[in-house]
């Protein structure tokens, strides 16, 4: 369990270090890393001893704070990007020239 929580804490830290493009790509792909980071409190933490839990929580909260900052930066960058209207896109494969 401790390892599990540590993995998630590490994942959150990894996310905080992502570039804006990487972070958006991870969000878009429902990347397992993102999912792991947001699953940080599974399993129930009360099963851990208080000292370990406190250390991991501090670690995790710090990582989340960094993530929050990163998301704010990404939001600002997104605001600078050109936006297209939400037009529905048509799709259809090309006609095969072989007939």
């Amino acid at each position: 369990m401790t390892n599990d929580l540590e993995d998630r804490s590490a994942a959150a830290r990894a996310i905080a270090d992502l570039s804006a493009d990487e972070l958006v790509a991870a969000l878009l792909s429902n990347d397992a890393v993102v999912l792991a980071a947001t699953s940080r409190f599974t399993p129930a933490p009360e099963t851990l001893d208080p000292a370990t839990l406190r250390a991991l929580l501090d670690d995790t909260e710090a990582a989340i704070a960094k993530l929050e900052t990163r998301l704010r930066e990404v939001a600002a960058e997104l605001d600078q990007l050109p936006r297209r209207a939400h037009a529905p896109v048509e799709t259809g494969s090309q006609i095969d020239v072989s007939g």
Partner: protein
Amino acid sequence: MSTRVSKRTVPSDVTFTPSLSRAVLRDRVDWVAIAATCQIPGQGEEFSAAYRGASLEHPDEVRFLTNVTSNMQAQDREAEAIGILRSALRRDQRVPEAWHNLGSLARNLGRYELAEAAYEQAARRWDRPMSAIGLSEVRLVMGDVGGAITSADIALSGLNERDPGWVDACLARAFAALLDGDLERGWAWLDARLLRPEYAPLIPSGIAPWTPDTPSGAHVLVWREQGLGDETRYLSCIPDLLRRGYRCTVRCSPRLARIISRSFPVEVIGPDEPVPEDVDTHISTGSLPRYLRTTPDAFPTTPAYFAADEARVAELRAHVEPLGHRPVIGLSWRSAYLTTKRSTNYPYLAELRALADTGATFISLQYASNQHELDAIAEYAGLEVTTVGDLDLTNDIDGVAALCCTLDGVVSVGNTVAEIAGAVGARVYQLSNANAPIQLGRRRSPWHPNTELFSRNYDEAWASPIAAIADRLRHDLA
């Protein structure tokens, strides 16, 4: 974009399950904003994913749901995409792109009636003629040649050469014309394919295109295009050029080089070899019919234009003879390149069952196959299919051609095997979609006199023409 991350304290009674985590993540991310920054092409996956997120926030927004499905066709997920679009269209029927995409997805799955209905709904609501192209395509498959011509003409009248749908509209018009018996205009429309970007590196630069007015004696470069089967089919026009007194260099697929060299008095070069300096003019293999097959009687009646390697025929005959009792029939049941749309051209393995009752010995001519697939045919169709030696059916086209010459017949779908077998004059029983434009609506292949077509209507299973082939085998080879 909202970036507020809840500083959650350790919950005592809540476990953050993956789905709850997903919800937390969703709360923090403005998917609609991200979707608005996604550009296609080149970001198909991200574009679709962003709209998936946006749809979770706005489940009644049909534009978003339509874009969720935008990359599913490329992933062969048509059935899933149809479900999403039908759900969207129950909420709002006003978005023509949703109807159009539904039509394209249904067409890929061979559900032509649904495709036609969806394209019609799109056409009523759209100021763009894109759905008319799809309508032309499905109406042709359904045997409505007049409707296909009308739809293609509507599309062409609303587009110009710079529009994305122009080439497809021309091809739809071409195929309708070919089935209507208007070969001259059909082949001319078909040349619009040369405008596609993938043709740019193939077309020789600085050399004049060949036309029938090119003086006899000129040196013509004939260059390959399309698949190996198409290339083989159109090479049937080479003798016509030679009879007119042209000197020919053929830039061909490497796999065809030997048999072309043996069959025609021409120079042969590979796709990457430089064009000889004294070449005067050029034409693609696929454009030869435009000038040389413009009337029904312009197609040759001689059974073969490819000459197999006699030594290899003898060698392979020694392998075939001990296989079992006659007749020995070659079999090919699919292409190597399979998408949802292309798969409708080929039977399920179980549909080969009728062939098991013919008394023939079947050997595989199927390229890009393996023993597992032969085992599956035995299991699902009760049909034993054997192999001949270690012949490489994918790369050794010269060997395949020689093998075809040792057989009593070849049963094949429309693919490279059918074309190679037809080109060496083998007796071919070919499965074909009814109204296949390239067959010009005929019951026998116009390209290969010894090839008989066994056609399936758009709403029939392949088992039907396969049963007809089994009957014919029993009759012809008794």
